[in-house]
């Protein structure tokens, strides 16, 4: 690509092209996970533990197996033993072994000729339990006398003398912390808590699995990553990975929650036991909430030193997060994001990964970042208020820029935080007048973005149209953005490119659509694949013209002689070369396999105005602004969509959403009625500003846009509520009863 690419004008990149899957999705034709069926297919149902922590004494399936139409029952005995590490964790989570570790943990599964028979059979499977003491709160789980969930599962990082539920300990930092705090005019320290929330994708997990006695299998599944499904299912079942073929359906949202497996291996195990008949498993909403991965709940201490003028001198965080009954809470990423927006001479991060009797956490959009932002950005706001400083100005004063050493280690490359803060400051929402009981909150968030294993191929069709095969399921328009980049690069119309999300047999391994990587990694990989094809097309044209291949270049979708010395030939278009490819040397294609380097980090700043009803404690969002650095917006409408969707999820997290566990350790709100995500009447229009500070590591400047936007809403809303009410809530969600209690406490106090 030409050196001036970053500044050049694009024909297609940056336009609001229609998505190629749009027609199917507005007509009901698009096929999602539960829409797939096969002849002779059986239906499955899963038996789940009603207890938070219980030894499984016995499983009696006799009555279920006696029911007409029941074809197979599986328990942990049908899975191979001897797995270790994260493979064992996944297997244990998919199907409990000796102990049920949380309310909703699978203990058996059944397949039958209809969904109704399967459900009836599941009710007839008798499981006897010995109840064990349980713990669901992260701080309670860290007490020395807490019930031990999996004794001996701590790794080498955990210092002696800690609760057995602490399975990993992290500590790192730099600079002289004591000197930093000594230099400050004020030093403040607070504790913040956030409850676990669920990704809340509207499409429940669903799959059809088929596995024969020969160890060859197929699966059709809604997932963010078909290769991860293949690998995890194969490991859990003891299969050869390449013998499993996994085809992704259209996906009804994932937000990280569909990057791993839950009931998918059960469908394969049931199929194998039922003589290889395909088995369909579809989760209910209650199963999704009880037994798929929400994110962690967190308890967080933050300490910051600040001079009177707002200069930050030192920061310390100590984060405790439980990610269910398995290691893997997002505490490492939370620590990384905590102070990322700030220049800090001295900083210390401490983190604990803690077990509790809850479902195994899965990734949720910028895992860990929202909690970290809630804690740090709340305290920054508290201190700004105390010092009488403008919160935006304070952030501008301490903002990191290119060349600064990040709080977590490496130096920042080109980043756009200063540009984001300046754009936020210039926005008219900041000048909107506020009335009584109204307040404005501001907060910043960070996500590093990600690349990962990437394989892409492109091939030229006989008429000069182009197909591109990618491995990342398209959740929010990535096929459109990849198509735009490929068409731009090749110099052909957008409509001439078809981007397909393909099954595991069609490409080398790909990581899922996660880490905001789909547009970044596929775009870069597709450009490399196109380069191969362009080289070959130039070679074909050169052969035709009888000149050197080096004397041909690719301009505007055609091979052309490079300069007057190369000879005088009319441009040979992609379509002309394609039409003759069978006679000129055969198929023309290109591919890329690798890990695209040059990831660009992304910052965002949100500004929200709220009104809090002093009588009910209800918070209404009046105005909402998202400003975020996209690097380059390939299709701006989908970038705006990511910003707006992230903001809405963050607002839900701040105000309503949260897992509610009873004293018995059972989840109390496993429906959409009681786990209430924002509805249309809860929100205003969400204003967006796309800042473009191109990422020099990407041919089109892409950074990745999906995740950053869920971090700032939690503290932005908390800061706005504090401004509106004069009371600070340090625990999420800020539900009306909690806000009311806080307001009354202020009145009484």
């Amino acid at each position: 690509m030409a050196k001036d690419e970053m500044t050049r004008e694009f024909k297609l990149v940056g336009t609001r092209a229609l998505r190629p899957d749009g027609l199917d999705k507005v007509t009901g034709r698009a096929r999602y996970g539960a829409d797939f069926a096969l002849p002779g297919m059986l239906w499955g149902a899963v038996v789940r533990s009603p207890h938070a922590h219980a030894r499984i004494v016995g499983i009696d399936a006799a009555k279920a197996l006696a029911l007409d139409g029941v074809k197979a029952v599986v328990t942990r005995a049908d899975f191979p033993a001897g797995l270790t590490g994260s493979d064992w964790d996944i297997q244990e989570n998919v199907m409990a072994g000796e102990v049920a570790l949380y309310d909703g943990h699978a203990v058996a599964a059944v397949a039958a000729t209809s969904a109704l028979i399967a459900q009836e059979a599941a009710r007839l499977i008798e499981v006897s339990y010995d109840l064990l003491p349980h713990v669901t709160d992260v701080d309670a789980a860290m007490r020395p006398d807490a019930p031990a969930i999996r004794p001996g599962s701590a790794d080498h990082t955990v210092p002696d003398g800690m609760s057995p539920n602490v399975v990993s300990y992290i500590e790192y930092g730099r600079g002289d912390l004591d000197a930093g705090f000594a230099e400050a005019d004020i030093v403040r320290e607070q504790t913040y808590k956030s409850e676990a929330t669920h990704q809340g994708y509207i499409e429940p997990q669903a799959c059809v699995g088929q596995l024969g006695a020969d160890g060859k299998g197929e699966m059709w599944v809604t997932t963010q990553g078909q290769w991860y499904v293949r690998r995890d299912c194969a490991n859990v079942l003891g299969l050869d990975v390449a013998q499993l073929r996994v085809t992704p359906s259209e996906i009804g949202g994932g937000f990280g929650g569909k990057t791993t497996v839950f009931m998918e291996p059960l469908a394969l195990a049931l199929s194998r036991k039922a003589g290889g008949k395909p088995v369909k498993l579809v989760m209910s909403r209650a199963e999704v909430l009880r037994a798929t991965g929400p994110t962690a709940s967190a308890s967080m201490d933050v300490k910051i030193g600040m001079k009177k003028d707002g200069t930050m001198t030192a920061g310390r965080v100590e984060f405790r997060m439980q990610g269910g009954a398995f290691p893997g809470s997002p505490v490492p990423d939370a620590l990384k994001c905590a102070f990322a927006p700030y220049k800090l001479p001295a900083v210390l991060h401490i983190g604990y990964d803690v077990l509790a009797n809850r479902p195994k956490a899965a990734a949720y959009r910028a895992p860990g970042a929202p909690m970290a932002a809630f804690a740090v950005e709340s305290l920054v706001d508290e201190m700004a208020r105390e010092l009488g400083l403008d919160p935006l100005e304070l952030r501008q004063k301490n903002a990191v820029e290119e060349g600064d050493q990040s709080s977590y280690g490496p130096k920042f490359r080109k980043i756009g935080l200063k540009e984001v803060l300046a754009a936020a400051r210039a926005h008219p929402n900041l000048a909107a007048p506020l009335g009584p009981n109204q307040g404005r909150g501001i907060a910043t968030g960070y996500w590093s973005n990600y690349n990962g294993d990437t394989a892409v191929s492109m091939a030229v069709a006989e008429d000069g149209t182009v197909q591109v095969s990618v491995g990342t399921p398209d959740i929010g328009g990535s096929r459109a953005s990849i198509g735009l980049m490929v068409a731009e690069y090749l110099g052909i119309p957008y409509e001439s490119v078809r981007v397909n999300v393909v099954e595991t047999g069609a490409l080398a391994i790909n990581e899922p659509t996660h880490g905001s990587r789909a547009t970044f990694a596929n775009g870069k990989a597709a450009v490399a694949a196109c380069d191969q094809a362009i080289k070959e097309m130039c070679r074909r044209a050169a052969a035709d013209w009888g000149i050197d291949a080096e004397a041909v270049e690719w301009i505007d979708g055609a091979a052309q002689p490079a300069g007057p010395n190369a000879g005088k030939f009319p441009p040979m278009s992609l379509a002309e070369i394609a039409g003759r490819m069978s006679d000129s040397g055969g198929p023309i294609a290109g591919h890329f396999e690798g890990i695209p380097r040059g990831v660009g980090a992304s910052f965002g700043t949100h500004v929200v105005d709220v009104e809090v009803d002093p009588e009910t404690g209800r918070t209404t969002i009046l105005r909402y602004l998202v400003v975020q650095d996209a690097g380059r917006a390939i299709q701006p409408a989908y970038v705006e969509g990511q910003y707006q969707g992230g903001a809405a999820q963050g607002i839900g997290w701040a105000l309503n959403e949260g897992y509610v566990y009873g004293a018995d350790g059972r989840l109390q709100n496993a429906t959409f009625l009681d786990y209430r995500i924002p509805v249309a009447s809860d929100l205003p229009m969400i204003d967006t500003v796309i800042v473009e500070v191109p990422n020099p590591g990407h041919p089109f400047g892409v950074r990745g846009v999906g995740e950053t936007g869920i971090a700032p809403p939690l503290p932005a809303v908390a800061n706005a509520v504090a401004a509106a009410t004069g009371v600070r809530l340090r625990e999420l969600p800020m539900s009306p009863p909690k806000v009311l209690e806080a307001i009354r406490g202020r009145r009484d106090g």
Binding site: R16, L18, R19, D21, G22, L23, K25, V26, T27, G28, R29, A30, R31, Y32, A34, D35, A37, S114, A115, L116, Q199, G200, Y201, I202, E203, P204, E250, I251, G252, G253, G254, F255, V282, S284, R285, I475, G476, G477, A637, Y638, E640, G641, Q644, G645, A647, A648, Q649, T671, F672, L673, I677, P678, V679, A680, S681, D682, L683, M685, I686
Partner: protein, 160 residues
Amino acid sequence: MSKIHVTTTVNGDPVEFLADPRETLLDALRDRLGLTGSKEGCGTGDCGACSVLLDGRLVSSCLVLGVEAEGKRVDTIEGLAEADGTLHPLQRKFLEHAALQCGFCTPGILVASKALLAKNPDPTEEEVRYWLAGNLCRCTGYDKIVRAVIDAAAEMRGAA
């Protein structure tokens, strides 16, 4: 449990199916009639992904039994475009405004919006938001959905 024979009209076509009396209308549409455009997001009437019109009235088909469709008229997402494939203005505006991301909520929201515009051809933003409050979308934050509905309404008023 023995099955019940149901005769009904779906998207203008006469259809028959055998329903287990425990099955919902959503199950019947999806599993008996192969009309998988209506989605199940919750099965408890809380998400609206299964929205259909029953004799012109907006219902959550997961809360209606399949046998209740007997003798009624059911309209689903599959019947929203014209028979020749010409899109309904709502469908076109949803595409133009990028009002869908994953698209899973889209069939239910389109059907619900059609019902709104039949009642109220000129809804305000607030009216759209309250009407669609029973249709959950986790991806979009509703901004572009609300704009698309208002824009489609304007176009339909102009065309009338």
